[in-house]
Amino acid sequence: MTKKILVLLLILIPINANALIEVDITRGNLNPLPLAVSPLSIDEESRKGFEKILKKENIGSEISNIVENNLRTSGLFNPLDKKAFLQAPDIANLKPRFEDWNLIKAQALITGKVNYIDDKLRVEFRLWDVLAAKEMMALAFTTVPNNWRRVGHIISDKVYERLTGEKGYFDTRIIYVSEEGPKTQRIKKLAIMDQDGANNKFLTLGNELVLTPRFNPASQMVTYLSYFKNMPRVYLLDIETGTQEVVGDFPGMTFAPRFSPDGKKIIMSFAKDGKSDIYTMDLENRIVEKITNHPSIDTSPSYSPDGKYITFNSDRSGYQQIYVMKNDGSDVKRISFGNGLYGTPVWSPRGDLIAFTKLHKGKFYIGVMRTDGSGERLLTENYYQEAPSWSPNGRVLIFYRETKTNSKGEGFSAKLWSIDLTGYNERQIKTPTDASDPSWSSLLSN
């Protein structure tokens, strides 16, 4: 499989640090920043060149559409209608007439240009502050033409970062479980897609039940649970080569796998004699360590981003609750004390929060709390939803939601949803089939 590394680039033109526009992402953004994404201009010769290899009539417009869609779905930006644009894309990229853009209320403007050079795709783009009438950023990339979608995502990430001060999350992928068939005999396959739903691919055939895939934060490896030969075990999958292997040699079910933040260990549960404990396995020397030792169910472990702590859920108090301990299993502390059951804790990549699923009075909630359990905030309530996974910048959570089945067996569905940490901007992520157990990758570039 081709490793899709972006072949270079970067002419970083110096930029003015005192820009006027700033987007505050710490609060729910009810007034998204109005901005104009001018289609990337393209000369006729380049246009024809790309049309031939990519079967896209105008690759410049296609890339801008990706940028526009990404920025809109973030909920922080309001891309304006292109019909209102007064200035042609090629001219705007040279020198915007700021009063024209001001007239349509754009506060920021993205312009750019695409060229077909030596069988490569060369893209340059600029971000302008319309009110200050200044260039904020200018970048150029060269890559293989097939990477055109990723170019759109990388531009989106750069714009997001420049305007919010935080890294973006658009050049990423989601691995999830595709579901089909009746609820009593669900066929499940591993599937992967770009963060915006494009390039969906199935990674397994559906011959055996598969669950809970998770990305390695440091590489394109995935760990998941497979019922291959009716033996539920944690597996490791290299999504570039397709190689799979079982993790460790356990005489029983292993499940709930996740990687350590450096990608060198897998942490998981092993169930034996009605007890489930947490174990780690070092992927290099294959050494297995037992981390918890308790007659209860200890599962759904997740490391802190510095690798020093582990959060997990346990029913040692009688009911499922969230705990934090040191990475060697010492110093176990319960952190969830609200009403109801708490599960699936996942540590934010920023380190300050733990996202979780809560079950209370027949409703399921996705929420966040500080790592000492204080400041609990419920983001969304529904009939059934669980298993949040963080965007790499720790600003968005993706999870899955199931609908009720009536007594005739109708009405069931499972879909992926995302929501901002602020509790705003809840949206469904379209998938070709029903879907569950999403896991968000790290940024593919940088």
Binding site: Q185, T212, S269, T299, F412
Partner: protein, 163 residues
């Protein structure tokens, strides 16, 4: 003598079930649910299959619990007796949970339920070599409904012949 007693008990249970289901058809749905559940443990027979005459294949659990009820222990004693009579048969105990829990916790809960059944079979003389435990969590419901009765049917440990 013991077997005789089990058989008699089973007959009683069956008779009780017949009476209950006969009532149920005449009354409201709510009564039907009540007739098939005790607390929130399923006591009906809709989904039950039989390993042999008078040997039900499954036991049911309360929400979030893995404690064996009196009825479950009776079923498992019948299974143990049947296994002692058929020493060449091995079994898989498939543990399940309902859909109202997180996926990973439910996998562990299914394993705990199947092990509760395994432990009981072992105290009645069945060697652990003959028993394999397999948890499906909430992945394989028998009743796809989203209601308390369906959930009670799905919280189960099913004994399946392995050979």
């Amino acid at each position: 003598m013991k077997l005789n007693k089990i058989f008699k008990n089973t007959l009683l249970v069956l008779a009780a079930c017949l009476v209950l289901s006969a009532c149920a058809t005449k009354k409201e749905v709510a009564t039907d649910i009540q007739g098939q559940m005790q607390g929130d443990v399923y006591t009906g027979t809709d989904t039950v299959e039989y390993l042999a005459d008078g040997v039900p294949d499954r036991v049911f659990f309360a929400t979030n619990e893995s404690i064996l009820t009196t009825a479950s222990r009776e079923t498992l004693r019948a299974q143990a007796a049947w296994l002692r009579k058929n020493p060449s048969i091995n079994v898989v105990l498939e543990g399940h949970a309902d859909e109202r829990g997180t996926r990973e916790y439910n996998l562990a809960l299914g394993e705990r339920r199947a092990n509760a059944a395994k432990d009981y079979l072992m105290t009645y003389g069945i060697s652990s070599d003959r028993i394999t435990v397999l948890s499906y969590g909430k992945e394989r419901p028998v009743d796809s409904g989203s209601n308390p009765l369906a959930w009670s049917k799905n919280r189960r440990s099913v004994t399946v012949k392995a050979n």
